[in-house]
Symmetry: D2
Subunit: 455 residues, 4 copies
Amino acid sequence: MQSQPVSIFERAFKKLVPGGLESVSRRGADIMSIAEDLPETDVAIVKEWIENCLAENGGQVEARNRAALLGRAYLKLSQTGKIRFFGLLSEQFGVEESSVEKAIDHWHKADANRKTTAAQALRKALEPSRIALLKQFNGVPSGVKFLVDMRDELLNFCKDYPALKPLETDLRDLLATWFDVGLLQLEEINWNSSAAMLEKLIAYEAVHAIKSWNDLKNRLDSDRRCFAFIHPNMPDEPLIFVEVALVNGLAGNVQKLLDESAPTQDINTADTAIFYSISNAQRGLAGISFGNFLIKQVVKRLQDEFPQLKQFATLSPVPGFRRWLDSTPADRLRELPGGEKWLSYPPPRDPDPANLVDPAGGQQEAIMKLAAAYLCTTRPGNGRAIDPVAHFHLSNGAQIARLNWLADTSEKGISQSAGLMVNYLYELPKIVHRSERYTSMGVISQSSAIKKLLK
Amino acid sequence: MQSQPVSIFERAFKKLVPGGLESVSRRGADIMSIAEDLPETDVAIVKEWIENCLAENGGQVEARNRAALLGRAYLKLSQTGKIRFFGLLSEQFGVEESSVEKAIDHWHKADANRKTTAAQALRKALEPSRIALLKQFNGVPSGVKFLVDMRDELLNFCKDYPALKPLETDLRDLLATWFDVGLLQLEEINWNSSAAMLEKLIAYEAVHAIKSWNDLKNRLDSDRRCFAFIHPNMPDEPLIFVEVALVNGLAGNVQKLLDESAPTQDINTADTAIFYSISNAQRGLAGISFGNFLIKQVVKRLQDEFPQLKQFATLSPVPGFRRWLDSTPADRLRELPGGEKWLSYPPPRDPDPANLVDPAGGQQEAIMKLAAAYLCTTRPGNGRAIDPVAHFHLSNGAQIARLNWLADTSEKGISQSAGLMVNYLYELPKIVHRSERYTSMGVISQSSAIKKLLK
Amino acid sequence: MQSQPVSIFERAFKKLVPGGLESVSRRGADIMSIAEDLPETDVAIVKEWIENCLAENGGQVEARNRAALLGRAYLKLSQTGKIRFFGLLSEQFGVEESSVEKAIDHWHKADANRKTTAAQALRKALEPSRIALLKQFNGVPSGVKFLVDMRDELLNFCKDYPALKPLETDLRDLLATWFDVGLLQLEEINWNSSAAMLEKLIAYEAVHAIKSWNDLKNRLDSDRRCFAFIHPNMPDEPLIFVEVALVNGLAGNVQKLLDESAPTQDINTADTAIFYSISNAQRGLAGISFGNFLIKQVVKRLQDEFPQLKQFATLSPVPGFRRWLDSTPADRLRELPGGEKWLSYPPPRDPDPANLVDPAGGQQEAIMKLAAAYLCTTRPGNGRAIDPVAHFHLSNGAQIARLNWLADTSEKGISQSAGLMVNYLYELPKIVHRSERYTSMGVISQSSAIKKLLK
Amino acid sequence: MQSQPVSIFERAFKKLVPGGLESVSRRGADIMSIAEDLPETDVAIVKEWIENCLAENGGQVEARNRAALLGRAYLKLSQTGKIRFFGLLSEQFGVEESSVEKAIDHWHKADANRKTTAAQALRKALEPSRIALLKQFNGVPSGVKFLVDMRDELLNFCKDYPALKPLETDLRDLLATWFDVGLLQLEEINWNSSAAMLEKLIAYEAVHAIKSWNDLKNRLDSDRRCFAFIHPNMPDEPLIFVEVALVNGLAGNVQKLLDESAPTQDINTADTAIFYSISNAQRGLAGISFGNFLIKQVVKRLQDEFPQLKQFATLSPVPGFRRWLDSTPADRLRELPGGEKWLSYPPPRDPDPANLVDPAGGQQEAIMKLAAAYLCTTRPGNGRAIDPVAHFHLSNGAQIARLNWLADTSEKGISQSAGLMVNYLYELPKIVHRSERYTSMGVISQSSAIKKLLK
């Protein structure tokens, strides 16, 4: 994840306020001169400035210009300064209790005819005044990205300063409205995309790191596809992207898939699309989910382009498996298929590469059985699969189709997933049904191969 | 104003739900078979369907597909059917009072630490459930335009069915967030724009009707500019657009400006940009204002392209003048400059073209003095100019610079504005100051020419 | 056909020579001051100027700037002035005979090893010096269009001034190289195309005139397609375009096809693509043929987009039929099927609308039989069909598939084609074979329906 | 320089001939089955195939399809096979002597009226028949690039097989017409350009090699510009490109300019544009010159974007200096300023880095004086500067403005240019005059600094 360089905003703000500070207001010089740690006296200046933005004296356009200038000042703040700035917004620009009390009173007294209007008025009274300021920030080019990055910082601060949480929630709600999936564009990314866009793939890829421009080029070869959701106001920034390989049959090994020296598949004979990586690119949009929509829109797009495709599946890690294996009590493991056998191996019992490569080590079957059990385990309270990736795909209506041995032998693959990878299968006609059954009843759809492992 | 043809949505929905109704749900056939007047039994079907959309069983993607199907059914409804549909949304998918009561209770009891969270929860409880459905509609291509057109219809119905007002307000608030001016794009429209875009200018121009494609081409000639705000999700639809003529000195006659046979101005020697028409294009966005932003961004754009420009002004109608003149009591008129003289003329005293053309009619001075008085009259309560166009430009920080005699001799021009037009002058360094003084104190900036008329 | 307005070149030239005339040369003022009729003294100035362009003193860039200035001067010339200008180019900037003689001599003396080089040198010597000047003209924006329009004028002058023919031929050869069909782009034209492009379709349509923007919009509806060849250096100018209707079965009436009130065909069920109009747009490119390539590339494009299409056919006029019918001696007609009957009708024997509408007039069969005979008649000398449209499609490998009665009842349709239209069928697998047999042996492929008429 | 991968042509050809070989002709299979070394029997097949293409039986479209198939076969040939293929074209598809003789005869006998037509006919007779085939090759997507690469290969073969030279000349003439500078587009290349384009800059940069994508990104930073000429039929291929740095004052050191860690210049205060690298990208276009046009168009473009720029200059190598220094006889050197001193240094007298860095080595002045002398030396015969880079810029009308010591300390910079670099200054108002004086009289424009060195 990467924030925009300050200079981009600087340039944008300058363009917006071409006359310089003085053209915005007599006080323009003041706001730009605040110290980076935002000491008490400067907080007062900022407070007055914000009030000025909200008052909209001289018109909305000018108020937004003032907000833009404030944004520019914000970018110069240190960590401490930013925390103080957010603190100011949290404490002083929230909800006025007396107004809320009055609006509640109105609502209670309203007769049936006026109930709805009173409810709307109460809702208005409950909207913190800072929200208007946040909206004003988007008035600059790059303003939306500015807010996304601001939330990224806020999320960091919230850990230590829980009082900032409500502000963070306000910002999330605002972004959630703007980043409604219906307003996004699905874009194909390929070697003809701009370098500005492509370098972000390299920076943001979270599942299987992209090592170089050559690695990237290989992933955009003629037998590959890459799609991203784009917000029209952040045209060079992927929000989330998925990498797809067109292959024959289910792919069971990610290193093979990413091997730059492997021959290119003839896409006219490919029958399977493998989604082998899906990455969120904006930490500032955490909690606003796009993945489900992305996968399904991409499936539709691929079907249009390649009518011969018969299967859509993922090649996914099992990121919580090793931790679960190490932390589950022996009693509990013993009850599971493969558990007894696993425990009978002499320590060290970790599935390290050396052991894994040697099937004579005999651990393979035990590990795979335990992994299948892990994947199909749901949390008693909420019926959700304990593996987060499994939960994501099962909610979307996928089936656990196949477990692959020695499928990701990278360090991360071994240490988190014991080298295993899963194919989740998206069978279009069954998606709704499976999603419903999983969501409402915790039923996990399993292929016969998985069922066999579970015995 | 023009709604999108039904067929566009139809096509979009079909693309979204390629497998046909059955793929969405067993009930797909039901929702598409509702009668166009939406009788009681069908209302029940729709209600259940909406509950289904909101429940998101089978996942968000599928819920949106169901909402899309509902949107498709909506388009087949008659007026009556639509009113019933909106009635259902208003009555059944609003706010649950008991939840609100509970949330109020929580808020009252919350200690300082939890007050904000409780306020957020109360705000959530006050959000009508239908809002989630409205958002789901945008999940189709053309979905945003669909909602804009839906509000257009709602606004019509609200006159007779005030109970629909809260629903209309919900929709307005949602659209106001999406159509935030910071998210819009300023686009230059010219003869290289698509015919699909240009035919909308012809349809939407509200001030001086565009008579033909030739008339339009003339307005897009090398000495003209046209700019529009565009929403990225409605790329072929202008939201608002302004037409500009590059001329020498203030233009004082709109027919001359629109004369197709007039020679083209050499733009290298033009010193003045005249904004002679500004039209809102989407009735469904009524109450969400863009005009102020549009004018100021266009001024900035023109300054960049033509550094030699010295003046930015409008050529605007005085739409309420004749009505005011006819309805103001004689006593009141007599007190105004020009009033006595005007009343001394034998009836008919209407400024009909024949009289107007004959300056020997002698009415010119009296009428211009009265018009100046009219323009500078503010409403006692709120300090706003009584002429709506004057109010708009004065709020933006413009000055009333010049009144032009026989400036619009079209039927509409004569019958509303007595043939007069005004130049409102935008002097950049003075805009903020003038806007502030007008907004806070009702002070109307007048040129010396106007001041003279007022004596 | 339409020439670019002078102003476009003016602007382009100004841009090219921003410093004004003086920056090009001390003599810049001279060339721009030549009189529009180009009297003798000014011819001398032009001559010297051209010599200067060809000499490339000061570099190629400057030479092209000078040529651009000359182009600008050319545009101000009257008809007389242009004729003199072309005369100058023809007489003074051709081939130098002495150089040719010398090069011939060299060639004759060259031994086998040097023969080819000598041939190349001779070819160089035979290239008129004016060709270098013509190439220099393209150095301005719009320069290619400038040359196309120049040839348009030349073609007109050549009728009266045959001495200009060699110059015209030089220009044609140059344009033929630049407009090689491999360098053109196939572009789909639709309602999202620019108005600048679309107005040219209206201007250039040569077969069935486009009456209005509404008529045009109807021809670009969802069940229609329009394709054009574009040259990358004239991006807003179609070179040739074809209009296609997607229908069910062969269409037999062009008025029905163009009826704006007719319902739109569901393109998913269409099985036939009818090419109902093909127009050359640039008279200046006369003799450089694109039609054959356009039709075949469009067929390929349509097959990709609509795999369900089963037939590709034209709906074409029979433009020479009436003239042939009126000018063929009775003896000759009598020998043809239908001829005897036709001659037995009492005069007037012209197929006027009144008679045509009344099948009881009994002329239908006779006329159709004669039309079939006409279409299948080839010129003794060269084996080419005497109808030019028939010859075009037969060369391309099409079959004469069907004659349609009362298919074009416009005035032009009646007076040229007796209201008849023909479907020429393009059956892809047979195109090569049919084209070869027609071209080499004059064999005309006929459907059984046509064969029946010929009996 | 890089050829397109074969696969791109393969795909293009397949698209062109979707029905496969059989659809082109019964002989399709034959042409694709020729052996890669093109033995005698296969030469016969090819010969017949070419005759077929030229005959255009079955129409032009089909003839081009056949040519495309031949192109596909060509790509499979080995070096030997290609040489034989070119040999066939050279020997068998040239000019027919008997036709030439006849045309010469006609020309001799033609009277004044028919002389021009006879000359045109003779020119036609002198056009080798293979040229028609070469043109047909462009009928495929990527066809133009195919021919450019073909000439690249031909140029290689010509060294050993001079008999192929005429064919190479034909191809050059054809390409020169298509790549006329007036038909090219000036395109700005930046970080928003496609990766497909940018990787070609990396591959083609000939002056200062681009070491990595980071190096490239630095060269496209906000204080840099890069422009290329593009041919519309090879949109992803730069033909020539120039890299520009916006700086303050003349830049005198290329390593500093390329230092990735150097701060970015504020472009609003830059007063000088430095052209520090200009590279031809297509070896197949050797001898068709674009550089002069590129520089001057870029100057114009930069002036439009940055009116504050006061100087346009290059930072160029002196590539022939060291070779000249080492090969010039001592007698001759001694006569030159600095020569005596230079010869007085004890060997080794090469300006190796160690010596160069140490000004106490004292060689600096001597070397710089000699370099100035070298740059201002012209060849007796033709008056051209002996340094090729100097000749290029002097022809364009530039001045030798400054010699920079230790300006390129790369290995290549030291070994070819003794670490020196030159600023050539482009002063717009003087360009024509300087170019003329240099071209016609060999006068080299020198700044006073250079003149001083020459003393």
